[in-house]
Symmetry: C2
Amino acid sequence: MTINLVCVGNLKEKFSKEAQAEYLKRLSAFCKVNVIELKEQNQLENPALIIEKEGEQILHNLKGFCVLCDIGSKQFSSEAFAERLSLLMQKTSVITFVVGGSFGVSEKVRSACNERISFSQMTFPHNLFRIMLLEQIYRAFTILNGKSYHK
Amino acid sequence: MTINLVCVGNLKEKFSKEAQAEYLKRLSAFCKVNVIELKEQNQLENPALIIEKEGEQILHNLKGFCVLCDIGSKQFSSEAFAERLSLLMQKTSVITFVVGGSFGVSEKVRSACNERISFSQMTFPHNLFRIMLLEQIYRAFTILNGKSYHK
């Protein structure tokens, strides 16, 4: 099983990098995870252009079943998320999660993704959100494998 | 303005400590934040007893307007959370957020809190949740002060 995280923006803070490394290490027991960091196009002034340019890069990296992390969409409990992942893994060997930039993603990206998922009604910074996503994927695998991590 | 975080369990991982330190530093521009870490009672075998013992410690530390972080309760957008905080700050100079242990909190704690708030339908580990909470409080202050952090 391969899980790709396609993320706009790189991790700057040391704590984000360390947290990511920790969850990648834990996840390595269950699957292969690739983190694909795309360059933020914030040098451009026009948000529409930023979304368009970032979208091109995202589209280039969509593989397998693609899940867009999108604040306005459906929320799952951790158990329901684990169940959804389990179902998907019966159908595909590659799942790609897309974490857009601070201006969101283009309509093309939205259409190209197979599913949308929301973690919260709140807006989180992309570095923290990436850790939250990695943690939930790790949690999902512990749930599916009957480990004691999740209560 | 004083904001208290009453949390069951301490931060073990270096990255959690660094992330907390970073957000506390940023928050110091806006308010005084006290993080009160209470001991997890996991040496006890009975979850009901754990909740009871942890509850006693929590009750001892409730000051001002108390907000319980509770997975099943009402969610806010970051903007609505900021607005809510702003309203509360007109009425009180101390707000206490309560983050319970892994078995939840006692009915006494639930009754003693003035409000409940949920960040997500998902379950997050207490260390990561604490960072999410600090980040949203920081984000709220940047929204209320017209800073460019929130998009």
